[in-house]
């Protein structure tokens, strides 16, 4: 086993794929000289000169140019700086990246990865803190992934780069520095987009999450165990497509479901999970589904206010206890 940070793990994924395929290149703001503002491209500019490209602050070009490069036969990885800015190239994502293959009757392929650092750090406030993955799960033609630990970060990024369809790769800013264990090189298991992972087996309640929400999920399960509640924990990893079967199978066993994400609750991806489970497995449910996410409020600045829009592990514990 080796220990790497999330950021280092993504660098490894980049290096391994770039080594193999000269058609892969990277572009975005502050990459070549700085190695990415969170160190997530560190070392790559030196190792792959000319293939990590610093762009101007022109998000419609970064994404639209990435799509054009993919249509021309390259395999771009583009970086969004902060996921909050993803509204700027929304047309390039929604109307071009996602639809080119379909509109043109299969003539096009868009093998592109868009890396989007998201989530609350400390006092990033309303325009540097958001989680907006739900918007993209509503868009046919793209895939959405959001890994929660260094090992997955690496394997999911490799799978995303190797995919022939566009992938939005949400990486939580807090997670970058988190350390985790990875198998030795050569004995890692490839990730298949769309597959969830069973993190903890349990019999009483299923907790489903992804990305940084997994901290709440795993944290709650550990504490609940002491109180005699045996929670099963699922890390979705992929949100579109998502592993419905894994969640349904688990719910059929535990009869209770709790969903958690950092994004705003209203219209969040949790709604899709809850609605689907209620439609397809309601007869197995012994209690209403619990769904946790941020309140309907932009992210405030002041620490006391910011605390109010976070989801806490205690919230899950309280909620789960209330359905027994």
């Amino acid at each position: 086993m080796r220990t790497l940070t999330f950021a280092q793990a993504t660098c490894e994924a980049m290096a391994e794929t770039m080594e193999k395929d000269p058609k892969i290149f990277v572009m975005g703001e502050d990459l070549a000289r700085q190695g990415g503002i969170f160190g997530q491209f560190k070392g790559l500019p030196e190792r792959f000169p000319g293939r990590i490209i610093d762009t101007p602050i022109s998000e419609t070009f970064i994404i639209g140019g990435g799509v054009g490069a993919a249509l021309a036969g390259a395999r771009p990885v583009v970086d969004m700086h902060f996921a909050d800015f993803i509204g700027v190239p929304m047309d390039e994502i929604f109307n071009q990246m996602a639809k080119a293959r379909y509109m043109f009757g299969g003539q096009a392929r868009v093998p592109l990865v868009l890396r989007a650092p998201d989530g609350m750090t400390f006092q990033g406030a309303a325009q540097h803190s958001q989680c907006v993955e739900a918007w993209f799960c509503h868009i046919p033609g793209i895939q959405v992934v959001a890994p929660s630990n260094p090992y997955d970060a690496k394997m999911v990024l490799k799978a995303a780069i190797e995919s022939d369809d566009p992938v939005l790769y949400f990486e939580n800013k807090i997670l970058y520095k988190e350390k985790g264990e990875l198998p030795e090189l050569g004995s890692e298991e490839p990730y298949q987009i769309g597959k969830a992972k069973l993190i903890r087996s349990g019999t009483d309640v299923t907790i489903v999450s992804y990305s940084i929400g997994m901290k709440n999920a795993v944290g709650a399960a550990a504490i609940l165990e002491k109180d005699g509640i045996d929670a099963e924990v699922i890390d979705l990893i992929s949100l579109s497509p998502w592993d419905k079967q894994a969640v349904l199978d688990s719910v059929k066993k535990t009869h209770r479901l709790c969903i958690v994400h950092e994004a705003v609750k209203q219209g969040g991806f949790g709604a899709e999970i809850a609605a689907t489970v209620a439609e397809e497995a309601i007869e197995y449910l012994d209690a209403p589904i619990l769904r946790y996410g941020a309140p309907f409020c932009p992210i405030p600045f002041a620490p006391t206010l910011e605390k109010k829009v976070r989801v806490y592990t205690e919230d899950l514990i309280r909620g789960i206890k209330s359905i027994f």
């Binding site: 993803i86 509204g87 907006v132 209203q266 809850a274 409020c297």
Partner: protein
């Protein structure tokens, strides 16, 4: 009452509000040339006695939206029109990072009273770049309000409220509505934002819809009635904020629910409705909520392919049969 088209009724709403409040103005691409993408602004400047309050914009959606945010912060009440909802992503940052957040970020110092009118939906083989229904994105954004009227009278009353409302409103209008006729009251009226209406009383099943889906649901309800099924149709009118109380009251009465929209089903607003109903009316549900919407595919052009992406009365009927079985 008199019979008016949706186009006429909303035109009147614009005229009345512009005459009532000098800070209201309209801006869009092609608003002068052909009177907007659906001809729904023809003669408006003349009717309010000031052609300068109906402004032609360059093909610069980011400028149209951001200038409206700025104008609103400066005290105006802009009504801007995106021509087609597919232009919304072009100015997504201006809508979600500026319009939605300015008031909150600046601690309540400004008000962003603006209305963004967006004709949306499948009309006639316009392909993947002119047909999407995107309300779910905006219902996930705190600070924005999302209104989706269903008829001429509803359009008029809701548009007037949207203009008078002090928050930014995304106002989705299905393209097929513009020619729809209906009774519109002669007297002055508004319809409150955030309040649903029971479009049809029923006891066996609740059909929760908004926008163009309301008339499709009513059509489905008529057919179902002949088969002995009494369907209640709830017109949400507003999807953010949405009227949970009215929906839950209906669900508690009928115990069976169909949620339908034209937007893509996955992660559509129906998911929020279904999830909330499942959470808060769990004990009242006799069968699982059925949720229908477009399949996970961009809208194709070819007629038979396009038909596969519509949510029609027959789909509602078969969904109702599923919840009844």
């Amino acid at each position: 009452m008199s019979i008016k088209t949706y186009k006429e009724a909303t035109w009147e709403a614009m005229k009345e509000e512009m005459l009532r409040d000098p800070s209201v103005y309209a801006m869009a691409e092609d608003i002068i040339g052909n009177g907007g993408s659906m001809g729904h602004y023809i003669g408006l400047g003349q009717a309010v006695g000031d052609e300068n309050r109906v402004l032609d914009a360059p093909i610069s959606e980011t400028a149209i939206v951001a200038s409206a945010v700025g104008a609103a912060l400066a005290g105006m009440r802009p009504v801007i029109d995106m021509r087609f909802s597919n232009c919304l992503p072009v100015c997504m940052d201006e809508l979600t990072n500026q319009a939605a957040k300015s008031r909150y970020m600046f601690g309540g110092q400004g008000k962003v009273h603006m209305v963004v009118r967006c004709p949306d939906g499948i009309m006639k083989m316009q392909g993947a770049h002119h047909t999407d229904c995107l309300e779910a994105w905006f219902a996930h954004v705190p600070g924005l309000q999302v209104v989706i009227p269903s008829s001429p009278a509803e359009g008029k009353g809701l548009l007037k409220s949207a203009i008078r409302n002090d928050n930014p409103v995304i106002f989705f209008e299905h393209k097929t509505l513009f020619k729809m006729e209906g009774e519109v009251p002669e007297e002055e009226y508004t319809i409150p934002i955030g309040k649903a209406r029971v479009a049809r009383d029923g006891k066996d099943v609740s059909i929760i819809v908004y926008g163009v889906m309301v008339s499709r649901a009513l059509e489905a309800a008529k057919v179902l009635e002949q088969e002995g099924v009494s369907a209640e149709v709830i017109d949400l009118r507003t999807v953010s904020p949405w009227d949970k109380e009215t929906v839950l009251a209906s669900v508690r009465k009928t115990g069976r629910v169909v949620v339908a929209h034209e937007a893509v089903r996955q992660c559509g607003f129906g998911a929020e409705l279904s999830a909330t109903i499942g959470e808060e009316a769990f004990a009242s549900l006799k069968t699982p909520v059925v949720r229908i919407g477009a399949p996970f595919v961009p809208i194709p052009m070819s007629p038979h392919l396009e038909d596969m992406c519509r949510t029609l009365p027959k789909d509602i009927i078969s969904a109702v049969k599923r919840v009844l079985s």
